[in-house]
């Protein structure tokens, strides 16, 4: 077993562990902890990205997600200063059925994945570094348009956020 594989297992394990902790944390039900673990998940995933030679994305992952997005989350949590989520009655039926459904999905996905007809080139050597992605983005036409649209999307988001959160005028 070579190093990358070990690293893969390590990061994969961490990702899933932290992910699980985001969703269901046995020790604390405080959203803050969930947020923190989400940050950790993202970092672990960044590791996986690196293993997949997606260096730029790994960076973006850390910067944008762990950096910007999660800060935003935490900021909101603080703003609303959500208390420890007091235990409400857990509806067991919901949990069982929900988990059942998810199990089903997982089963189907894994079944598909291990369906054994994935095509993967023997010795992949795609390097997703900034230069390559930059070239992709700005030379291949097919990404230009989405890029522009995303800018509109961001504008919409800005307008929306302002509208939704500006003080109500009486």
């Amino acid at each position: 077993m070579v190093l990358p594989d070990i690293l893969f297992y390590l990061f994969a394990f961490l990702t899933l562990l932290f992910g699980a902790l985001v969703v269901a944390n046995p020790f604390s039900r405080n959203p803050v902890t969930s947020a923190m673990f989400l940050v950790l998940t993202i970092c672990a995933m960044a590791g996986l990205f690196v293993l997949l030679n997606a260096f730029f994305l790994a960076a973006v992952q850390i910067l944008v997600y762990a950096g910007a997005v999660m800060v935003l989350f935490l900021f909101v949590i603080m703003l609303l200063d959500l208390k420890e989520e007091q235990r409400r009655k857990i509806n067991l039926f919901g949990i069982v059925t929900g988990t059942g459904a998810v199990m089903g999905l997982g089963f189907l996905l894994t079944k598909t994945i291990w369906g054994g007809d994935l095509n993967q080139s023997a010795n992949p050597r795609v390097i997703g570094d900034t230069k390559a992605l930059g070239l992709e983005l700005f030379t291949k036409g097919q990404f230009l348009l989405p890029f522009e649209i995303v800018s509109v999307l961001l504008l919409v988001a800005m307008v929306g956020v302002i509208l939704l959160s500006k003080k109500e005028l009486k």
Partner: protein
């Protein structure tokens, strides 16, 4: 790469920006003018679209990510017209937005741009991005009335479920990409046909199904319809209207592209699934609407049912079926917008959204009464209105398939049951209009000129599509030519 093709979208986007900017320079009292300005702008774009393109040949741009063919053009015009009417409605409605009227117009325009891009999407990335543009805009539009908690609640529900669906969508795209190694519809089609995908069909299929989930959510098709009633009820009426027409149509066009361009050779595998979904959707929408008293919610359920009828066309998925889809959509546009325009006015007056708010409408405003009656009759699929011919085409397509496979007769039977049930609640509305229990106030409702215009357009459209279907049907047939369909 001829970027000039996106001129229509650009125009709309710029219009949005102009409205936003102009907002600074216009005092609050005459913000309405911005709305009318936007209406005018859209109208101009709509007209221009007829001069600029004829959609006979298929044009590509941005590395085949963007296609401009008959279908795209048809839907662009469809969206433009819808937005036009919705904007009129919104302008009339805008006193309810104590702030940010012009933002509402601008956002509507951006959503419109998103829809128009979606109509031309020929690539999963563009599909995703334009869909997200639509969705995110609608998050805002749905929750626009911050005063009303219902509006916000609807917004959150739409947000969570929308995000969930786009999660599935994205994962589906990922799987498709993984299976085929491309994001482009045409290449995907080639690879499927040439079977150079390493035959990773299972992966591909799962991906397609997950994309279907995302689009089904937009169309409000069972089992992804669950959000529709709440959101329709909660959001401001113009938004509901745009949601019912635009966002549904966006889902439709993308699904058409997916089945007709991206995987024409695999589409037939989805036949049974689509049939089942159609049947379930029709029944769900119709049955749930029976006991419904809230007008907007009622229309929410009815729009689910309509999604079911559209799915009939997808299940058939031949030229007859798909052109029928377009025809039905066209009729649906006028019908639903007429209904929502009336409801917007009535609800504003009565303050209640209950059917009983319509009591005595016949005396209060004959125009509104007539329009709503016609809308209901058309939705019920009764001559001489658009809804009839649309349903007729769809059902005809279904029965025609029945010759090949008898299951289609059962599908037809289900559709008939749906129609019957729908008659029940549509006529409930009509009765409410004409049957005033006397105690209701019969003060006449004033109808502003633009609203009259909008209603006029809707009624004209309904009658035109119902009485003289020839031209419109030809257009629809032309539009679907660009899809790979069995004749």
């Amino acid at each position: 790469m001829n970027a000039s093709l996106i001129v229509l979208e650009l125009a709309v986007g710029l219009l949005g920006l102009v409205v936003l900017v102009q907002d600074w320079f216009t005092p609050a009292k005459d913000r309405r003018t911005l709305g009318y300005g936007a209406v005018l702008g859209v109208a101009v774009v709509l007209l221009y679209s007829f001069f600029a393109f004829d959609g006979t040949e298929t044009l590509y741009a941005f590395g085949n990510a963007y296609v401009l063919d008959g279908l795209a053009l048809w839907f662009k015009r469809f969206f433009l017209l819808a937005a036009l009417l919705v904007l009129i409605m919104a302008t009339e409605f805008s006193d309810r937005f104590e702030s940010g009227q012009s933002e509402f117009f601008a956002l509507t325009l951006f959503a419109l741009a998103g829809m128009m891009f979606a109509a031309s999407a020929n690539d999963f990335i563009l599909l995703f991005v334009s869909l997200e543009l639509i969705t995110v805009t609608f998050y805002v539009l749905v929750s626009f009335l911050r005063r009303r908690v219902e509006s916000l609640e609807a917004g959150v529900k739409y947000l969570i479920l929308g995000a969930l669906s786009s999660g599935f969508l994205v994962y589906g795209i990922a799987l498709i990409f993984g299976a085929s190694g491309t994001m482009n519809f045409n290449e995907l089609a080639e690879r499927v046909a040439g079977n150079t995908t390493g035959a990773s069909s299972k992966l591909l299929f799962t991906g397609i199904l997950l994309v279907l989930v995302g689009l089904g959510f937009k169309m409000a098709a069972v089992p992804f319809q669950i959000w529709a009633p709440d959101v329709y009820q909660g959001s401001p009426t113009p938004t509901t209207a745009f949601l019912a027409v635009g966002s549904k149509a966006a889902g439709v066009v993308l699904l058409m592209r997916l089945l007709g361009t991206a995987i024409p050779d695999l589409a037939f595998h989805l036949e049974k699934l689509l049939m089942a979904m159609a049947a379930a959707t029709i029944l769900y929408g119709s049955l749930c609407a029976i006991p419904q008293r809230n007008l907007k919610r009622l229309l929410g359920y009815s729009s689910i049912a309509s999604a079911g009828y559209l799915l009939l066309g997808f299940a058939v998925m031949n030229r007859a079926g798909s052109s029928a889809i377009l025809y039905y959509l066209a009729g649906y546009l006028f019908t639903v917008l007429a209904a929502f325009t009336v409801i917007a006015v009535v609800v504003e007056k009565a303050g209640a959204e209950d059917i009983s708010a319509l009591a005595g409408l016949a005396q209060r405003s004959p125009l509104l009464a007539t329009s709503l009656t016609l809308a209901m009759v058309s939705l019920a699929g009764i001559p001489p209105l658009a809804g009839f011919f649309g349903k007729f085409l769809l059902l005809k397509a279904v029965i025609a398939e029945g010759v090949r496979w008898h299951a289609y007769y059962w599908l037809f039977a289900v559709a008939v049951v749906g129609v019957l049930i729908s008659l029940y609640y549509y006529f409930n509305v009509v009765r409410a209009i004409y049957w005033s229990k006397g105690t209701t106030d019969l003060t006449p409702i004033p109808v502003s000129l633009p609203t009259k215009f909008a209603l006029g357009v809707c009624i004209a459209g309904m009658l035109w599509l119902g009485l003289n279907p020839d031209g419109a049907l030809e257009m629809a047939v032309e539009a679907v030519k660009s899809l790979k369909l069995v004749a």
